[in-house]
Amino acid sequence: MVEYAWLIPVLPLFSFLIIVLFGRYLKNDSDKIGIGSLFISFLLAIGVLLEVINGSTITKEFVWATHGDIEIAFGYSVDALTAMMFVVVTFVSLMVHVYSKGYMEGDSRYKRFYACLSLFTASMLGLVIANNLLLLFICWELVGLCSYLLIGHWFEDIENVLAANKAFLTTRVGDIGMLIGVIMIFAMGKTFNFAELTHLVEHGEIAGVGLTVATIFLFVGAIGKSAQFPLHVWLPDAMAGPTPVSALIHAATMVVAGVYLVARMFLIFAAAKTTLTVVAFIGGFTAIFAASIALVEEDIKGVLAYSTISQLGYMVLALGVGAYTAGVFHLMTHAFFKALLFLASGSVIHAVHTQNMHKMGGLLKKMKVTGWTWIIGSAALAGVPPFSGFWSKDEILLGAYHSDYKILFWIGVIAAFFTAFYITRATIMTFFGEPRDDHAYEHAHESPSVMTIPLILLAILAFGSGFVNSPLTDMAFGKFIALEHGHHASPSSFVQMTAVGATLSGIILGWLIYGLRIISRKSIIKFLYPVWRLLKGKYFIDEIYNVVAIRGSLALSKLIGAFDKYVVDGIVNLTGRLGVFIGDLIGDFDNKVVDGAVNGVRNTFYVGSRLIRNAHTGYLQSYALTLFFSVLIGLIIIVIGG
């Protein structure tokens, strides 16, 4: 089965091509192509995973270009990480595909949507299967392009276009950094191949400052794609896209690309200690920073968006502190429960036609399946044992606890507390209590089964996927995924207790404020008003960027304008005066001649342009055509006659 692994990314690509090329004959059957091809991919991915568990791997390569002694090869390889990613990506994407059938029904660009989804999935799978930086980078860019297309899917609304632009441009900033990193790595190692690079690094042939700088640049790419601080700004805006797209982007494809990159090159990163520290701190900061914003979000998708940033921060933190298994493990569990949460939120939005949580409430009664699956997802996100999130988050905190920087552990704990609080808040505001908007409530209804079945399937995984790396299964996942040098930190009951304590206190606090309303929300806001304002304004990052980027460029243009006005104009005027002066010297300047000449030329062109405007252009084109055909006929005569 593993030798057919290349089919996994190729099948969605085919589905994309078929929908694009023959979409107009397929009409709305495009979804079947997309879902069908992805389903086969998913089955293949399962098969590949099973074989990889039994120890088989595959690497294929072909030389693409040779330049001197440098060979640039394209190839793919399948190992444990790839196999796991295959399953996660294909499964989540399949769920999104199925779900979209209900969510996007009747959309005017239904085919286009499925085409983009397919390409998106294909490029993500290609990114995962690549065994070299170059192919990875190409797929990386494709992922960015697809996200642009999908976020801007409803491009009639200017907001969506702006969001798409923002996502594209912000990630481009990271991509440029990454490109520099790729080139630096290539310059040092003369290869793009991960295995060869790892080999070189391990033998110390790439080392020192060069390696540190290169890996930091590569990580900049990851910052952009995985929405880490300070390039996280695009992700909340990317909510503008259709909700299934958000699920795909935030759970399984786009954002995990950055984390995947670091995981894939983990041994290379690990050789540069400084880089790892940077990675760890950026991850940790992002985790707590984004979680704090999520505390006050009103938009249900906004909460999830900042939650995603925060959870990605966790993953990056895990990789940064060397807890490779933990990072990858969390990537997997997060993919399932975050996809579930997004799809569930989409189901809610579909029902009540608003994203504002203040207008929801009590929906559990109306939407049983959506509600309960959401609650399972929230529990996993919050890290309630024995839901999947508990196991992976615990692993990360354990890694941070054993690292050189204890502060990272405490940051993780506080972020876990925030996480539990905000997701409890969201859950209660949405599904419990009294309906706050009667109209929306009346209107609400459970979504069709094509949307709820993916929810149920995802919920099962959100609950159960954590067990693969629990003491119950003897840490099977860790053993499967671990690199040879990976070490597993010994479990610590202190870490476990702290984590569970943080989670539970978060949930309880949320319950007290929003569920039982024992603590008044208003008084807290009053008490912590400056903080609340800061969080509400999302630390004003966007505003700062606006000032720096937009005002900055405006100021620059003004500066250039002033230069133009005073310096250049001055020179021009001076020259002009000089010219007049010399002109006077040479002789009397005949104004009539000058006028006549200029008017004459002007008239000529006026008449000429009017002529072209009238019927005569047609003739000229046919003249030229006749001319060319004559030459052609001349050639034919020569060929026949000669």
């Binding site: 004459g600 002529l611 000229l620 006749t626």
Partner: protein, 480 residues
């Protein structure tokens, strides 16, 4: 380096500059025209001091031989006549004299370079100087939309064909590794090219080069199917410039065409002569048929020019077998008859401000000498003895019969018959119709001079051809 070889060209450049100076200094427009004429005549006189042994410079790419001296004399003569008949016209039409005459000289300069060139590149440079000046000259009637349109069309199609020509040149260069005509001939006959080792493998690309170069020249001589611009342009251009294009530009293009095909590519004569024969047939037929229904005399003359170019092309097609003498003779005669015709047309244009066929009505009463001269020119154009046109046509006819292009000779004869009606229409208007108005014609003396001189030349070429024949034969021998 022998600078003396450039004497006529240098004189022309100086003339050009002096005209621009005179433009600002002289009070009278007439002075500007006169400067041009004096300069051109000086250049013409300087030709007498050029002898064959001056040879070549610039690595054999610029040459002075009898052939080039013949054409230079012809072209400078044309330019002088065009300047002279423009004196009144420029004033009437409010054309700016300084620019007009200097561009005329510049265009002539380009022609001189063309006919002296032994290299594809210098031919192209001459051609462009000639054409670019001509583009502006055509658009000189700023108030007249037709003139602007004509200029624009000529410019655009001209640019297009320039590209074709250059492409052809680049193909020839690519195959042979040289742009010099003599070296090209060597490479073609020996087969030792830059690109390939055998003559056979060279042929396809050479052939393509031939076709493209032919297209470029075909445009300049207004041969069908590259003629589409000609009626519009000839009609819209200032009348004297139309005469200049029909005689000068065409003669220069034919001179270069003959040189390129007979010196550089004579080995391939079998192929290109067929193509040129086809062009000739098409040009004669389409030109004559097109002329039949015209009411504007300039447009009629345009189609007539296309047909006449067809006759010349017959001569070119058979030149390798029968020599180029007929072509030179015909071009000489053709220059005189066309210039004569246009002198008469300009006379009418100056007086009536239009160029319709109806304007010729009753010309025999108003200006009997001009009517008689016009009839003579038309007889020559149709090819009726004892005119120069007859002999020219006769030589070409004979050459065609002598070669294996009998069918072309036949087509030529038939075409002479087709051309009769439209020439006759003008003659009928002049002699049998009564004048449409009683306006008295004012006839400038320079026009009288030009028309008289042309008429005498046409008759001379027809009645005492021996003197000319010897001279032209001398020039013709130099191509090989």
């Amino acid at each position: 380096m022998n600078v003396g070889i450039f004497t006529p060209e240098i004189v022309m450049v100086i003339t050009l500059i002096v005209i621009l100076g005179v433009k600002y200094l002289a009070k009278n427009q007439f002075t500007v025209g006169l400067t041009a004429v004096v300069g051109l005549i000086t250049a013409g006189v300087s030709l007498a001091y050029l002898t064959d042994d001056l040879g070549m410079i610039w690595g054999h790419s610029f040459v002075v031989d009898s052939y080039s001296i013949f054409f230079k004399a012809l072209l400078i003569g044309v330019a002088v006549v065009v300047s002279v008949i423009s004196f009144k016209y420029v004033e009437e039409k409010k054309i700016k004299p300084g620019e007009f005459y200097s561009l005329l000289v510049a265009s002539t300069l380009g022609m001189l370079v063309m006919v002296s060139s032994y290299s594809l590149v210098s031919i192209y440079i001459g051609l462009e100087l000639m054409s670019i000046s001509a583009y502006i000259l055509i658009g000189m009637l700023q108030e007249d939309k037709r003139s602007t349109e004509a200029a624009l069309k000529y410019l655009l199609i001209g640019a297009l064909t320039s590209a074709l020509l250059l492409f052809g040149v680049s193909l020839l260069y690519g195959v042979t590794g040289t742009t010099n005509l003599i070296q090209i001939a060597e490479v073609v006959s020996s087969g030792q090219g830059a690109l390939t080792a055998t003559a056979a493998s060279m042929t396809p690309l050479l052939m393509m080069g031939v076709v493209f170069v032919l297209a470029g020249f075909g445009f300049k001589v207004a041969a069908v199917p590259f003629h589409m611009w000609a009626p519009d342009t000839y009609e819209g251009a200032p009348t004297s410039i139309t005469a200049f294009l029909i005689t000068g530009s065409e003669a220069a293009a034919f001179a270069a065409l003959l040189r390129v095909f007979n010196v550089g590519l004579s080995e391939l004569a079998e192929t290109w002569s067929l193509l040129i024969a086809i062009l000739a047939l098409l040009s004669m037929t389409l030109g004559n048929i097109g002329a039949l229904t015209q009411t504007n005399v300039k447009r009629m003359m345009a189609y007539s020019a296309i047909a006449q170019a067809g006759y010349v092309l017959v001569g070119v097609a058979v030149a390798t077998q029968s020599g180029i003498f007929p072509v030179l003779y015909y071009l000489l005669a053709y220059a005189f008859m066309t210039l004569g015709c246009f002198a008469v047309i300009i006379l009418l244009s100056n007086n009536f401000d239009s160029e319709e066929l109806d304007d010729f009505r009753g010309l025999s009463e108003k200006a009997p000498m001009f009517a008689a001269a016009m009839t003579l020119f038309f007889l020559s154009l149709v090819g009726i003895p004892p005119t120069g046109g007859f002999l020219g046509k006769f030589f070409i006819f004979k050459a065609a019969i002598g070669s294996n292009y009998l069918w072309l000779a036949l087509a030529m004869a038939i075409n002479s018959v087709i051309s009769l009606p439209y020439y006759y229409g003008v003659v009928k208007n002049m002699y049998l119709e009564s004048p449409t108005n009683n306006m008295k014609l004012t006839i400038p003396s320079e026009l009288k001079f030009v028309v008289g001189f042309s008429a005498i030349a046409i008759l001379g070429l027809g009645i005492i051809p021996e003197k000319f024949i010897n001279l032209i034969q001398l020039a013709a021998n130099f191509v090989f």
